[in-house]
Symmetry: C2
Subunit: 818 residues, 2 copies
């Protein structure tokens, strides 16, 4: 019963223009304006009715405006991010503090080093499981699906938000090689979805799914921007990861929100006195003049190849890990039963490996992820610098100094260990991202290559009187960008590291290594997120990103809703009334006649409701009365008779003295705040001129009239699908044209309707039957389908039931999992 | 007759999937493969048949691959850009050299200072007029239209390319305040279009318009990247300027090409020894640690507001200028007659104003644009620095030192003079851009604000023991980004200056000033390019960018092609043959019957041709013969009789001994390289078993057969438009779904077809009747249309004829221009 036309929301640009003529729209607005203010509002925000009407008009109305929403979208995740950093630092330093307090007892040290992370991980996993199990993992695969217009249930809820924030703080506080960034993309998306709902509530409009998707993409950009303080890089990363096409008007919005977010994230530490001014997160101090020799581009390309290979292997290892956990029935059942056991075990092993007096001495185990990155990006050449003996306390690179193993050894050990540790750690069921682990591993690899380059060219390259010595830190930066880019198949990581380090003078080496790494990795493996999408069997329109196959040719007729409510040119108001009560969609299709079913166009339900209430309005009642009086000066009616008639003819019950009874759901629900009820309530004259029975009788009479659609704005250009349009194409049309639903016609005849929820169901089904890597099952399905089309075999029935219901989907998925 | 399925081009991703089933596509590929290799190739490149077949197979085939095309797209404009910089520098230094040689005679100096630019501009204007008049101006408005899928004639031709390159070199060599960047966006687009044609030639496929548009957008990114050496900024700028939606797969391609281009552009000066290594174009040396105090953000926002106002005013002045030239009939006619007079006059005035011993002494007139930017971005505080007396020769800022006017005076004079000079200069009919003029003006304004800030805070701001002194150069950089962003309504200028200066530490002040400037400018004026689009009346789908109005509600039925060629289920091969010969589109619609006109789907012409040639194939001939022989062991036929029969029955002429005569256009054109002709040529047995007359007779007989479409792949999901779909929506569907044409149906009946050329014509018409600023004419047109729809008034006829033909369009445009 909420208003369907979003004239108050300035976010409305995504809405397809239903009315070609702006002026007509204006008229219609005025027509529906006064009704809207009394319509009840649905949704979560409806509970918090915290403002009085005058406040609402002057304050809250503006609060729903787009720029306010964007600013809020920028600020809120940034505050989360800053607060979480505090929490994470607290946990990390607590561990270190206890570890250092027990410096005389190695066993106590070990206990402290291992137990605190295990406890934290257990809390993270438990909290996530109890509050929002959807929050586990990075959330980017789900955001990818949502950005494509396919809702993944529960992933944008407040529960998930809470679980994600708390779980992530504990998980990262444990010091495991996990990332904060990808979950924050999810958090940004949730904030955006909640703000979109909030804006719809404030603006008193029904939320458009297409608009929400646009805001969610901006939220993804914000998520990365408020983690790294990188507005432009975050924006582009979110575009690359989440979208297949991108509206430029949305780019502007996302850029605005991401800038605010990054600024707030870097500004808050200045407010609390941690920093004197705003600085990049990982500021580097590489030389500005003559940063690199041209020949070094080759070594950066070699680094790119290595990072590409490592990135693809990282994706492969992670995929194997996740698949193993999911596919082995006994293992997965055991893990499901003992939810926190797996993360606790993994944490125990990783913490043991990094225990500084133990194996951790070879891999700088005592450093946190942040300190590791500070060290890897520093300006020294470790192979020289670590020979010397004067280190200041802030110099983290000393952690790689070992009496028996040289710096190449420690770097190589660190790289290999972190590689596998990260690949295993990100498979834990806690909120965690894989971007930063890949980033750190890449930095290790880059530092290693850089140190090798520095040793190979100890004197640097002489060119035109300038000496170019390789800067290993720059290789570390390039490696980080290349590796994270290779694992996620993005090139905007180059931009992220420019903003992250505050230096852009290595632009060409960096971009080249990222591009080369991407070329290598993309030719070997799907991206980390695509792998997870496949393993987790998320509903996802595959063919647009993976060129390998087109999926089984599911067609619109297989998943459309066939039982469409429609109105015809001959519909009476009674039909209209019945159909409006069913509330299938926002618009109703208008067909020529029930026999021909030729689709003429669609009419918004709001309009039809207005037509109906106008037809039953007091004005018309009075008119009727006046005419009636002219004909018969007095109408002799027996009240009992009348009552009997009404109860026979109509399903409507008798109204109470003021309005209808609660059980009179039909007209009341439909028109609860509209003219009839108002008329009954507000105008005491009415009761004098016409009894309630008479009104009902008159209404009953009026409902028999044919509807005159001449004053209606019929949208003639609704995009029609044909029954044999493929699922992928139908999805493309709906998302690209920002539609919430589309009618299916066959030779002009209306035969069905497809909305986003049908698409989602179809993609979910597809995801369940989709094989992880190999093609044969798809071929099989396609053949089955071909046969289905021709004959009414049992297979056809099975497939159609498969497509129609969600409950029976587990059977076909089983055989392929193994 | 070229192959319509682009299986050899890897650029094919833009093409909508015509065949839902990959395997079926494979089959069809194999079916058409052998025919394709003999099909003649059309287009410009067909003339240069420079490679022998084996070469072509092994070398040229790969040359058409996407990554090669992208690399070429990166390299070619970069080489143009580098070579042009040489030419421009030569002309600029020649002027200075002659000016300095005549240092004793002020009049001679003036002559040299004025005459050389005038001559150069005359050459530029004349050459542009003679070779490619489309090359005048920046070309970005046209690229915007092209990026929206609306062809603007002649703007992607080689003539235009030559005119643009030569004209731009001469125009910029004159030292006028013109830009190189926007024309280079156009040059990049032309290179992309030509390479797309080249790739289609190499790959032996027909060029897809949708694919070409994608490559052209990449070309735009390349254009900016190879002018500034800014890959990421160039890419985003081209997205913001040229697109309203953007495919992410294209982002990757554009990023790749733009990186190569920027690298080559910066690498070539290293090769020729100008630079020791790759550096940013306008490298800055601002302090890295504590670059700015947080309070300075406010002054940057003030600068943003000023730049926004100035940017909007710049657009306004330029618009007034261009409109004045175009609207005053006598002036425009005079200017058209004396083409070079206007640019010569403008150059004379501007050169006189900048004459260094004259008024130029107050505005650093002797500096070129590049030197001006070097000076404005330098690291000094001029108000202090210019008080001192020790300057090195490379210190261009000394040009603003004047004995009687202080630095604020000279900067203010420079800003105001350059502002108006630029606004006038970019209205000259030579290839020139407005981005760099706006950039330079913004740098002036920023430097002015920065110098004021430095004077207001001479001691800097003390905070936590750190002294933050304002750096006027950073304000100049921010001003440049904000002003160019405000004029063009883009935010990616921030990214451009990061890459251009090689420093990213001013990220937040810069982004904030750009965003603020954009907010101010966007609320005051349309962008520079949108203004030009309106003034020049380019065909452009307006509603997507300007929110002011929706344009008159032109609907599909007003501009669709009503005379559609179609095939029916009852079509004979003869009908097929006739229709295929007409070659209206790539696909043919299949309707149920000619009476019902119910659209069933569409079939690719290639397929129909294959059907036809298969039906007339030698195999079937032989089969027929065998069957024939079985029935009658000998066939007594009089040759004369037969011949007479054939000539009566069919329009086909008799074939010569080997194949058909040149005048036998029908079958030959259709099937020139297909099986019949091959059969006749290759198989001498054929002539023994069947005479040519018999063949023709047999063919005639075969053509009477009904076509069996069972083996055809009918595309059922072709997107249908309804006759009342609005123009804007039809355009959106065609561009978003990457279609070249769409069928129009009414209640399932085929009534027309709309292709991109119809859209272009409709938009052209709209542009002609579109009022520059005010709404009334549109309202009028809308009312006219409403009346048209209802009655067959003379107005309706007029409007429809207006929409149908291009020649009669000048009349309605006249009254609104004044």
């Amino acid at each position: 019963m909420t208003g369907d036309i979003s004239e108050k929301s300035s976010l409305q640009c995504a809405q397809p223009l239903m009315y070609t003529d702006e002026r007509e729209k204006e008229d219609f607005k005025q027509l529906t304006e006064q009704k809207k203010s009394e319509e009840p509002v649905q949704g979560r925000w409806a509970r918090f009715n915290f403002c009085s009407p005058p406040w609402r008009t002057f304050f809250l109305w503006h609060l729903g405006e787009e720029w306010i929403i964007l600013i809020l979208l920028g600020i809120i995740p940034a505050i989360f991010s800053w607060a979480m950093d505090y929490g994470i630092e607290f946990f990390l330093h607590s561990t270190i503090w206890v570890y250092e307090k027990a410096h005389d007892h190695v066993f106590l040290q070990y206990l402290a080093w291992v137990s605190i992370p295990v406890v934290l991980i257990i809390i993270a996993a438990g909290f996530t499981y109890l509050v929002g199990p959807q929050a586990a993992g990075s959330g980017i695969p789900e955001m990818k699906a949502i950005a494509k217009g396919i809702d993944v249930k529960g992933h944008l809820s407040l529960n998930t938000l809470v679980a994600k924030i708390v779980g992530l703080t504990f998980a990262l506080g444990s010091g495991m090689p996990l990332g904060k960034e990808s979950p924050f993309v999810h958090i940004g998306g949730i904030c955006a979805a909640q703000l979109s709902r909030f804006a719809a509530y404030i603006g008193k409009v029904k939320e458009s799914k297409a608009q929400r998707v646009e805001l969610v993409i901006s939220g993804c950009a914000v998520g990365l921007a408020c983690c790294f303080g990188t507005p432009a890089g975050g924006l582009l990363y979110s575009i690359e990861v989440a979208s297949t096409f991108f509206l430029v008007r949305n780019y502007w919005k996302a850029f605005f929100a991401a800038t605010i977010s990054a600024f707030v994230f870097r500004f808050l530490p200045v407010c609390d006195g941690s920093f004197a001014t705003i600085t990049p997160l990982f500021k580097t101090w590489f030389r500005q003049e003559h940063p690199y020799e041209l020949l070094e581009l080759l070594s950066f390309c070699v680094l790119g190849v290595l990072c590409g290979l490592a990135g693809a292997f990282f994706v492969f290892v992670n995929g194997v890990m996740v698949r193993f956990i999911r596919s082995e029935r006994r293992i997965s059942q055991f893990l499901v039963k003992t939810r926190v056991l797996y993360p606790a075990l993994v944490t125990l092993v990783i913490a043991t490996l990094t225990f500084p007096p133990g194996f951790g001495q070879y891999m700088a185990g005592e450093l946190t992820q942040k300190e590791t990155l500070y060290a890897l990006f520093d300006n020294y050449t470790w192979s020289k610098h670590l020979q010397e003996d004067h280190f200041d306390p802030s110099d983290h690179s000393v952690a790689w100094k070992h009496p028996h193993v040289n710096v190449f050894g420690t770097l190589a050990i660190s790289f290999i260990m972190k590689f596998f540790m990260s690949a295993v750690a990100i498979s834990m069921p806690v909120p965690c991202g894989s971007f930063v682990p890949a980033f750190v591993i890449g930095a290790y690899l880059g530092r290693l290559v850089g140190e090798v380059a520095a040793v190979v060219l100890p004197e640097g390259i002489h060119n035109n009187g300038t000496i170019f010595t390789p800067v290993p830190g720059s290789y570390a930066v390039a490696g980080a960008a290349a590796m994270s880019g290779a694992a996620t198949h993005t090139v905007s990581t180059a931009l992220i590291v420019f903003e992250l380090t505050g230096q852009i003078n290595y632009i060409f080496p960096l971009i080249f290594s990222v591009i080369v790494a991407n070329i290598v990795a993309q030719s070997l493996q799907p991206s980390l997120y695509d792998t997870l999408i496949r393993v987790r069997k998320l509903p996802y329109p595959a063919e647009l990103t993976w060129g390998h196959h087109n999926g089984p040719s599911i067609q619109v007729e297989d998943f459309m809703v066939k039982d469409v409510k429609y109105i015809t040119l001959n519909s009476t108001f009674k039909d209209l009334h019945k159909i409006l009560f069913s509330r299938q969609f926002k618009c109703l299709p208008l067909v020529k006649s029930a026999d021909s079913m030729i689709l003429l166009g669609s009419i918004q339900c709001v309009q039809l409701r207005a037509l109906l209430s106008q037809h039953l309005s007091r004005a018309r009642q009075l008119e009727y009365l006046r005419e009636d009086e002219r004909k018969h000066s007095s109408i002799p009616t027996s009240e009992d008779e009348n009552e009997k008639d009404i109860q026979e003819v109509s399903p409507l019950k008798r109204p109470t003295a003021r309005g209808f009874q609660d059980s009179d759901i039909t007209l009341k629900t439909l028109l609860c705040s509209h003219s009839i009820v108002e008329g009954l309530e507000d105008d005491p004259d009415m009761e004098d001129t016409m009894t309630k029975k008479e009104i009902l009788e008159w209404e009953e009479l009026q409902l028999e009239d044919k509807v005159n659609f001449n004053d209606c704005k019929i949208d003639p250009a609704s995009i029609q699908l044909l029954e044999r349009t493929s699922l992928q194409k139908a999805h493309k049309i709906l998302t690209m044209m920002s539609l919430d639903e589309a009618y299916v016609t066959s030779a002009g005849k209306l035969i069905g309707v497809v909305s986003r929820s049908e698409l989602r169901k179809a993609f979910e089904t597809l995801a369940k039957v989709r094989a992880p890597v190999t093609h044969p099952p798809m071929e099989t399905l396609r053949e089955t389908r071909t046969r289905c089309r021709n004959t009414d075999t049992p297979e056809a029935t099975e497939l159609h039931s498969l497509l129609g219901s969600e409950s029976s989907l587990d059977q076909p998925a089983e055989p392929e999992e193994k």
